[in-house]
C-alpha cells in the first residue's frame, strides 16, 4: 500500500464520517430542539433537549429540562458548563419518610435509548450556586450540557422566579399524590 493509497483511504473515511454525520451535532445555541439522525449503522444516542427553564433565587437556583433520546444507545448527562453561575451540578431531591433530602449526583443522569430524562421540580435537576444577579425573569441564561457519548448541546433556559411557579410541578405532584392515595 503506497502513501497515495493510504492518504486516499483516510480522505475517504473523513468524507464518509462527514456524510454519515458521526461527528455529532455540535453546539447549537438555539437548542430548544437539537437533533440530527446519523445514518451510521453504529449504535448511537440521538438527543433532543426541550423546555429548558431556570428557577433563580438570590444565591441559588435550579435548571429543569427534558432530554429525549430517540437513538438506540443510552447516553449520560455528565456535566454542565455555564458562565451564568459559579457552580452548575447534577443533583436530585429525594423524599424519604417525609424528609426532603438533596443528593449530589456526580455520576450524572442516564438518558435511556428510546426514552427520556426529565429534570423537574422535586426530583432530578441542575443545581446552580450564585447565579448571575442580572438573570431576570423572562430573560435567559446559557448553559452547555456535556454527555458521555454525544457532542455537547448548548441551551438557552428561560428564567422564572419562584412566585411565578412551575406548571410541571403541579402536574407531577398531582400524579404522585394520586399514586400514593391509591395505596392508602
Amino acid at each position: 500500500m503506497n502513501l497515495f493509497t493510504t492518504t486516499g483511504m483516510a480522505a475517504g473515511l473523513v468524507l464518509w464520517a462527514i456524510l454519515t454525520g458521526c461527528g455529532g451535532r455540535g453546539a447549537d445555541v438555539d437548542a430548544a430542539s437539537t437533533s440530527t439522525a446519523p445514518a451510521s449503522p453504529v449504535l448511537a444516542p440521538i438527543l433532543e433537549v426541550t423546555e429548558p427553564r431556570a428557577q433563580l433565587m438570590p444565591g441559588v437556583g435550579a435548571v429543569y429540562l427534558t432530554v429525549t433520546n430517540s437513538g438506540d444507545e443510552a447516553d449520560h448527562l455528565v456535566a454542565i458548563k455555564t458562565a451564568a453561575a459559579s457552580v452548575a451540578e447534577t443533583h436530585e431531591t429525594v423524599v424519604e419518610e417525609g424528609v426532603m433530602r438533596m443528593m449530589a449526583r456526580p455520576e450524572g443522569f442516564e438518558i435511556p435509548a428510546g426514552g427520556s430524562l426529565e429534570l423537574a421540580p422535586g426530583g432530578k435537576h441542575i443545581m446552580l450556586i450564585e447565579p448571575q444577579p442580572t438573570s431576570d425573569e423572562g430573560g435567559t441564561i446559557l448553559l452547555t450540557l456535556h454527555f458521555a457519548t454525544s457532542e455537547p448541546i448548548a441551551i438557552e433556559a428561560i428564567v422564572t422566579t419562584p412566585a411565578s411557579g412551575d406548571h410541571a410541578m403541579d402536574h407531577d405532584a398531582a400524579h404522585d399524590m394520586e399514586h400514593d392515595m391509591e395505596h392508602d
Binding site: 433565587m57 435550579a62 423524599v95 417525609g98 421540580p121 419562584p162 411565578s164 407531577d172 405532584a173
Partner: protein
Amino acid sequence: MTVFATKTVPSTKTVHTVLASVLLVLLVTGCQPKQQWNGAAEDPAMPAPTLIGVNWDGEPFDLSEQAGKVAIVFFGYTMCPDVCPFTLAKIKHVADELGERAEDLAVVFVSVDPHRDSVERLARYVPNFNSSFYGLHLDTDQVAALDADWDVTVQYGQPKDGPRSDSFYYVDHTGTYFIVDRQGQLRLTFPPNATAAQMVPDLEVLLGA
C-alpha cells in the same frame, strides 16, 4: 294457639314512635357521616406544638397567638434550590384560591437554616410570594427543639468546599405541611407532594368551622 291469638300487636302509631326515637338517638349521638379529609387527620387532635420566632418584619411571632385563624405551618430555607420555592408558590396558590377566606389563614414558613436565613434575608424572600405570609427566623436552639416538638427532622449537609469553609450546604428537612385549626389544634398534615387542589377543600372546611 290461644296464646298467640292474645299477643299484643304493636299499633302503627307505636312503630312510628319507636322509629322516630331511634332516629333521634342516632342524630344526637353523632351518627352523621365522618368528615372525609384529603390530608391525614390527627386523631385525636392535639394542641399545636410551641412555635416562637421572629417574623421577617422584625416582629416577634408566637403561633399560640394565631388562635381564631387556620394556620399552615411548614419548614424550609431560602438557599434551597429545588423544592422550597415551589412549596411557597404552592401555598400562594392555595391562598389565591381561597380568596377573601384567606383573611383568616395564617401561612407560616419556618426557616430551619438560622445561620444563613437572617431576618433581613427572609424579608427579601418571603414577601415576594405574599406579603401576608409569615417567614420565621428561629435561633439554633429553637430549630433543635423542632424535632421533639413537631417531629421535624433537620440535618445539615457538609459545606461544598469542606467542613471549615463558608461554602454552600444543603439542609435536609421534613417537608410536611401542618394544618392548625381556629382553636389552635393540630388537625391535619399533608405530605410534601400534596397539591393545592387537595389542600383547598380541607382548609375550606376548617375555615367554615
